[in-house]
Symmetry: C2
Subunit: 150 residues, 2 copies
DNA sequence: TCTTAAATAGGATTGATTCCTATTTGTCAA
DNA sequence: TTGACAAATAGGAATCAATCCTATTTAAGA
C-alpha cells in the first residue's frame, strides 16, 4: 500500500474517531496503521507484536481494547472462527471466507453468484440483519497439496 | 423428541462409533443423548452441566474431548462463533445461521434460495471445500424488541 | 475369565480475554 | 497558553476456556 493511500485512510479514520467522540491517541493511530497494512485476519496478539515495534511499551490490553472499539465504530470486523483467538478483518467491504481446517488460514473471496444474498422474508421481518457472508470450511491449496503426499 | 426416536438415533450413533473403532462407553452414550435433546448450539460447559446430572463424577475434560471426537467422526459440527467458547451443533443437516450480536443466540434457518451455494470455479479448483453456510450477523426478535424500548 | 489398549477423573497448566487501578494525556473552555 | 477533567493507557491480577498429564478404570476381543 502506498504511503499516500495510507495517509488518506488515516485521515478518514481520524474523522471516524471524531464522529464517535473518541480521542485521537498515538496508540490508536499506530494500531490502525498496522491493521490496514497487516496480513488478512490478524489476532490481537499478532497486532500487538507488530505495533510493539513502534510503541515498545504499549500494553496488550490497549491493543485488544482498541480493536474492540474499532469493531464498535465499524473500522474493522470481527470475523467468524471455529475456536481459538478472535480474528479481525480490516477489509470491511462485502466478501466471503474459506477457512482452512488444517492451517487456520482464512481466505477471502468475492463471487458475483452470491453478490447480494437476499435474506429470506421470514428472517427479514423478525430479525435485524447487519451483515451476511458465505462461510466455507475446507482445505487451502497448500494443505491440500500436503495431504496428497500420504 | 420421542423416546423411540432417541433410541433409534442412539443405535445409529453406536454403529458410527463401531465403524470408527471407538469404544461404546456409558459417558459417550450419555453425552450423545444430552446432545441430541439439547437446545441448539450448546457449549461444552453446558453439555457438561447437563450430563453431570446423570453422571455425577464425569469430568469436564471427558465431555470436551468427547465432543471433539464426535466432531471428528461427523456426529456433530463445530459452528462458527465470534469469540467465546466453542459451540457445537447436533444438527448436521444443511442449514444456515443468524447470530444475534446482543444475546449470542444462534438461530437456524433453511432457505431454498441458497439451496446449493455453488462454489466459484476459482475456489473449487484450488481448494477442497467440506461445508458451506450462510452466516448472518444481526439482532434476534427478542433483542430487537428490547432495543425499541429506548 | 484374562489381557491390553483405550478411555476416564481430577488436577495442573496453558492460552485468551477481561478486569482493576494508579498514572498519563487529549480536548476543550477560559 | 494554560488548567481542569474525563478518557485512555500500562501493567499486573483475575477469570474463563481449552488442553495436558498421569494414575486408575474399563470395554472388547481372545
Ligand atoms: Mn476477510
Ligand atoms: Mn445450527
Ligand atoms: Zn491450509
Ligand atoms: Zn438476541
Amino acid at each position: 500500500m502506498q504511503n499516500k493511500e495510507i495517509a488518506r485512510r488515516v485521515r478518514l479514520f481520524i474523522e471516524t474517531c471524531r464522529r464517535h467522540q473518541l480521542k485521537i491517541t498515538p496508540q490508536r493511530v499506530g494500531i490502525y496503521r498496522v491493521l490496514i497494512q497487516s496480513q488478512r485476519h490478524p489476532t490481537a496478539d499478532l497486532v500487538f507484536r507488530v505495533v510493539k515495534k513502534e510503541f515498545p511499551n504499549i500494553s496488550f490490553d490497549t491493543v485488544n481494547r482498541t480493536l474492540s472499539t474499532f469493531a464498535e465504530i465499524g473500522v474493522l470486523d470481527v470475523v467468524e472462527t471455529f475456536g481459538g483467538p478472535k480474528r479481525f478483518d480490516p477489509d470491511i467491504t462485502d466478501h466471503h471466507h474459506l477457512h482452512c481446517m488444517a492451517c487456520g488460514r482464512i481466505i477471502d473471496f468475492e463471487y458475483e453468484g452470491y453478490a447480494r444474498l437476499e435474506v429470506p422474508k421470514a428472517i427479514a421481518t423478525t430479525f435485524k440483519v447487519i451483515s451476511r457472508r458465505v462461510v466455507l470450511k475446507g482445505l487451502c491449496d497448500t494443505c491440500t497439496a500436503k495431504q496428497q503426499m500420504f
